[in-house]
Symmetry: C2
Subunit: 527 residues, 2 copies
């Protein structure tokens, strides 16, 4: 058995059965091994950022890691931005990165680089396999690290000579040591507060908010947190960019902390207690002149019920017991309801109404709509239950790949990708993989012909108003991008919506038909 075969067998044994690939020569033995291990589903991407973003989307929906297969340092580099987002989402991902045979790397051939230095900032765990009998143990350790808690990106670097050589087969059962270790990119673990302190805060009668994040944004944990907050008269907030937020009619609806620090400060104003449940301390996304970085108001105490590495369900149950909150306690949640189908001009508002009017039951929404999409969370709050995947790490170019991976994890669910024009162009190659795999993804490109957020941020950072040169760096209208042509060029059927009425019809048609499609939706700038 070659090292490549053992690697794939070890992944399969651990339940990792999907691999997003963009291989090169140093990974050809992995490609060859795929023929002999057909249980590993391999999905080709035209660019590594598509592969890593798809692994993120897959992991958020499947709850277990996909693998990626990347080519040496440059292939790893091309995948890093979306691994950054996956790391921030605490999504389990296992990267396989080919490396030159180590003796060959020492000759400094053209493709040699320091892969570990590249991998570490975006991986919570990194290992370079140094011997064949360490391969299975190292892959096992990587899967363990990826799964967490906290979930993270684990990167296994496999020298080519180990992937082509015969290696000892089967599980190593702890006989050989693994190569690799956790990195500084793991989440900083906050100190848990004593339970009595959290209970006292929630019983204080003072203005209090429970902030949910990570694993508490869906399922039982979200309902339990909502019950606890309601019983204590506390507000329920969520971190700004959760990896996966379950929402819709009947599901607790925490207020997401605003991206804009000024608005988040309004949300937190007057609070005396914040109870964090798998949520980070609220800090500003960027620094601004004269603005505080930490957004907790003066005089507000911060309590940590559970952090990223803790048993959040157990902690919430214990808290509920202490507070006397029954399992059947009421769960405040939005009522069912949708906006009417909009008519007339296509604007950010009417587009949001159109999404709300048609979003199907059980949809997965990959949301990288940025400034154009501000109204969409409001119009979809009462839609049937769905999952919302957000731009966790702020590295744009996430939406299309995450939608791609989510559709592979959940082939029977409709996936809606809300994608801003500027962000779309970082990983537009995703459309080809969607076409190749026949994925049920409907992409709406919200096209305001600009990096809208930057035009807005330019004034917020105190840099004044854009003159003609600065403005030209923020505008995408010279030339206009034709997303219908781009999509059809990659095999995805596409149409342009010229009115809100037309958008509704196109959305319904796209979501009713199997396979991918794209709707180009030009909208006026909102900022």
């Amino acid at each position: 058995m070659t090292g490549a075969e053992l690697t794939i067998e070890t992944l399969l044994r651990r339940g990792v059965d999907t691999c997003f690939t963009n291989p090169g020569t140093s990974e050809m033995h992995f490609v060859a091994a795929l023929d002999r291990t057909p249980a590993m589903r391999s999905v080709l991407a035209l660019f590594e950022g598509v592969a890593t973003g798809a692994a993120d989307g897959y992991g958020r929906i499947a709850g277990r890691p996909a693998a990626t297969l990347l080519h040496l340092g440059p292939g790893m580099a091309n995948g890093l931005a979306n691994l950054h987002n996956a790391r921030r989402a605490r999504t389990p991902v296992v990267n396989l990165v080919g490396e030159h045979a180590l003796t060959h790397r020492d000759l400094d051939p053209p493709l040699a680089t320091d892969i570990e230095s590249l991998a570490r900032p975006m991986s919570g765990w990194v290992g370079t396999v140094t011997a064949g009998d360490r391969l299975a143990a190292t892959v096992d350790a990587a899967v363990d690290a990826a799964q967490g808690p906290p979930g993270t990106v684990a990167t296994v670097i496999v020298p080519a000579d180990l992937s082509w050589s015969d290696v000892p087969a089967g599980p190593t059962g702890g006989r050989a040591r693994a190569d690799g270790a956790a990195t500084a990119a793991m989440p900083r673990l906050p100190e848990r507060s004593p339970l009595g302190e959290v209970v006292a805060a929630l019983r204080s009668g003072e203005p209090t908010a429970v902030v949910v994040g990570g694993r508490v944004c869906s399922g039982t944990a979200l309902r339990r947190a909502a019950q606890v907050a309601a019983s204590a008269g506390a507000r329920l907030l969520a971190e700004t960019f959760p990896g996966r937020l379950e929402r819709g009619a009947g599901i607790p609806a925490p207020n997401r902390l605003a991206y804009l620090a000024e608005l988040a400060q309004v949300q937190l104003d007057g609070l005396r207690h914040l109870v964090l449940v798998d949520a980070p301390l609220p800090v500003s996304f960027f620094a601004y002149p004269g603005m505080p970085g930490v957004l907790v108001p003066d005089g507000c105490a911060v309590h940590v019920l559970a952090g990223p590495a803790d048993d959040v369900d157990g902690a919430l149950d214990e808290l509920a017991r202490e507070l006397g909150v029954a399992a059947a306690a009421p769960v405040p949640a939005p009522a069912a309801g949708r906006p009417d189908r909009p008519t007339g001009a296509l604007t950010a508002e009417s587009l949001a109404a159109a999404i709300g009017a048609v979003l199907p039951d059980g949809a997965i929404v990959s949301d990288e709509s940025n400034t154009c999409g501000l109204h969409i969370p409001g119009t979809t709050a009462g839609c049937p239950p769905h999952d919302w995947l957000t731009l966790t790490g702020g590295a744009i170019g996430q939406g299309l790949p995450v939608a791609t991976g989510a559709a592979i994890a959940a082939p029977d669910r409709p996936v809606l990708c809300l994608e801003a024009d500027g962000s779309a162009m970082y990983t537009i190659q995703s459309l080809w993989t969607q076409a190749r795999e026949g994925l049920n993804v409907t992409t709406v490109v919200l096209d305001n012909h600009a990096y809208g957020i930057l035009a807005f941020e330019l004034s917020r950072v105190g840099a004044g108003t854009a003159g003609p040169i600065a403005a030209s760096m923020l505008e995408l209208d010279r030339p206009d991008l034709d997303f219908v042509a781009l999509a059809t060029g990659m095999g995805v059927p596409a149409n342009r919506a010229s009115s809100a009425d037309e958008l509704v019809l196109l959305l319904e048609k796209a979501m009713a038909e199997p396979g991918p499609s794209l709707i180009h939706a030009p909208v006026p700038r909102t900022m």
Copy 2:
């Protein structure tokens, strides 16, 4: 004066007057400063790999650095693959990378990463500015490092609070220390051989080759090296992937060492002396089972006349003097001549003939044609003088960005981009920048519907023949990519060539008209 303004002023003072940008919020003060420093030409890219590859192409042609403007760690990450190629080409490039205010970074906001860890593998020099009065000195040091020799990629990381704050203006004149240092990514400097040893090798009468690389692939150095080799009866070889190779009728034509180790071994077989002039030791691009990594034959001595940090012109003049080679000594070079215009079916051979038949005088060729382009160097050898830019680091996705930057460096020269289908899709966003800037780039996409090189490498690495799953990871024909649609979607006029005759007509038309255009050229697989 803000730190952002001082940074741009310092670059302008050092002759760096072109900046390829893909900024974010943390770089908005740089964008604002562009309005007040219009001498800095700023060119927007839709993806960072386009910006960095364009800086590489610019530097190879201009002989001085362009700047890039990148957004935090993820923006740096997206630009790394083409910085890898630039580093291997020893192209001078100065990256400006925005960073959070350092106090804000310590709060671990969503976009925080270890930018230096990302930058180091692809940068010969990295510095994070720690105080306003160190800014100008640090930018100066980065330009010094970038220019070399050896030329390299220098990365300056500028915290946002320094870019928005008032800083001491003007050149620092050594008053403040620079932040930053050279990294392990600098070329390893070989030990120079005593001149007498090189002279003895060339006078030995034994089989000898002079291998030129880097700065010896163009201009006076190339002619001088050719004179020396001819006078000594030595062969003239060139490194496999030079950054810029001057070639055509009347210009010395070193045989480039083959990418395939087996072929390079044939080229080197029987040699007793190799004289390296700014060229690396010949090593295999990849490791293969049972194959040597170093390609120097047994019994062949290696002599280094000059390395990447040395004065190559001085070393060659000194050698010529010792050998008694006059400045007017004959320079063996190809005679003028072109292939006839091909007719009939479009194949790799007829495509190569078409390029040779029409390549204009003074053209710049950005060559990422890979397996489909094997015949093109042969058909263009007798064309009028032109520059050939190659895939120096092996990180695909270079051709389109390099052509973009070269066209900005030399607006009066025709640029021909020979681009393979698979490689094109890594940085296809380049076409939009070409349209926006009205660049004289003609792109020919050589489309064999496959990662042709990988299908070939699969058998070479001993992995056998591809079964259906492995083959599907190497083929790009499900769905076919429509490069005409992709180009028009980004504002670049495009056509498809269905025969060799049609390709000739389309090439002549495209190169006669101003602005960019693309020709989609489907060809059968050659490997």
